[in-house]
Amino acid sequence: MDTFFARNRLSAYLDGDLPSSEAREVEAALHRDAELRAEYEAMRAGVELLRAHGPIAAPEGFAGRLQIRLAAEPAPTRWRGVLRRVRPEYAGIAAIAALALLYIGTDHPAAPVVEPTVAVAQAPVLPTEQADPAPPAEGGTAPAVADGVLGNEGGFSASSKPKSASPARPKATKPMGEREVFQAAWEREDGAAQTTAPDATDAPASTPATLYSPAPWRYRVRASGDNPIKQLIAVASSLGGRIVDAKGRSIADYPMDEGDSRSVRVFVPSYNVEALQRKLGDLGSVETIATDPEMLYQNGAEVPVAIEVQR
């Protein structure tokens, strides 16, 4: 065996994975060639370093913290596990097929031109380019929500009210911007729709689950510090998140008097929601209003956490 072949077998020799005849030939080559021997020794030293210092014990309390998270999990079922294995592209194809069947099954005098709305067309991830959406006019009414999934079922706009018995031809809709979707969802969540959209009570009770409505995690914090919003901004920033007020505007600071209450929404990567919850405890006592463990596993997508801060 020449040096070239021996060199290519150094790793397997190190693992004891060579047939005995080849192992003997590598040994002979190592004996012959000082350069090859140096290469082998360097490789062996690297492997030993990794083996000696590679493994790390999980931090203390790891299992306990995991238990807390698991306690919020619904009991897993076989069907849930099977459904999770469905590949996203197949799920997409199935959704398109279902929509096509639905379309065929309804009475259509003419093929309508319907632009997809945000709630239908987009994956449940917030657009990051519009981190600081332009605020609506102060004191203005809620922007009208188009007849998309959210608009039809959320019922925040006049256009979503059932019209008189006109032909069942769907109208073309404008795509909803992030601000409209966000605003509608926020108002529904905070009950503001009653003042800004009187016809909201006409809406059906069930609403579609979009990322925007309602916030999957909601907490109430009774803060003990002087400026809890400022503390919250620092917490959100340390977790790679951002914080907005009820109108979707970024907040820099907000001094609060004793007895004040303020609703904000923090957007953080999904894997930091638990960390955010822990850090809220530094601000004061935390009351969990709602959690949605189903949304925790989102591969780091940015998700909203609604927080009502009371001082």
Partner: protein, 210 residues
């Protein structure tokens, strides 16, 4: 006693005490959720090690490791046992680590830096059987830093295969299953990764000696 020794040497995967992974999965699938606690106990160090060596800070590593177990908890009812549980666990862990890193890269995320001492500065708990009694804390910290720095310089394919082989101590066949690669490719890639690691360490140690 002799039989036990013989079995332990001949069948390293055979557990003479305690249930096998397949038993635990079966129990879990039949409603015994305490079986999952045992799975966590069995794999938490190995999953955390992989996350910690892949990601650059302990907090992200812990969060990712916990996400791995949450994902396993949700998916275990559908686990068909076509591969070993460990294969599946490591596959899920690697996917989570890659996703986490990719997400942070895309967001341009940088760790929040503080002037105070960082938790990462402290030497981490080495597994007892890996810790030589003569090692001083200083030596351990230096070696830790060397390992982290060297692994960070490897490309992703080389890093993951070295972690699986030399840190997790997995056999070639299981690595081939985890990475969906032929066994021969696994062997050659391990060889190249080790050669690259040796070169990096050689440069680092040489520079520090100067």
């Amino acid at each position: 006693m002799i039989f036990a020794l013989f079995a332990a040497v001949s069948f390293p995967n055979l557990r003479l005490s305690g249930p096998t992974d397949a038993d635990l999965v079966d129990r879990f699938q039949h409603g015994d959720h305490r079986a999952f606690d045992e799975i966590v106990r069995r794999y938490q160090d190995r999953v955390f090690t992989l996350c910690r060596r892949w990601l650059d800070d302990a907090q992200s590593a812990e969060e990712t490791a916990q996400d791995v177990f949450i994902a396993l908890y949700r998916s275990l009812p559908g686990f068909r046992g076509e591969s070993q549980l460990s294969t599946w666990v490591f596959k899920v862990t690697l996917n989570h680590c890659k996703n986490h890193r990719m997400y942070r890269t895309r967001r341009g995320y940088r760790r929040h830096e503080s002037l105070g001492p960082q938790p990462d500065d402290a030497p981490e708990r080495q597994l007892p059987d890996q810790q030589a009694s003569t090692d001083s804390a200083v030596h351990r910290t230096e070696a830790e830093g060397l390992v982290n720095a060297a692994l960070a310089q490897l490309d992703e394919d080389h890093r993951q295969i070295l972690l699986l082989r030399d840190v997790e101590d997995l056999p070639y066949d299981e690595i081939a299953d985890i990475l969906d690669l032929p066994r021969g490719t696994v062997k050659s890639r391990i060889h190249r990764a080790r050669a690259e690691l040796a070169a990096i360490l050689g440069r680092k140690i040489g520079r520090e000696d100067l």
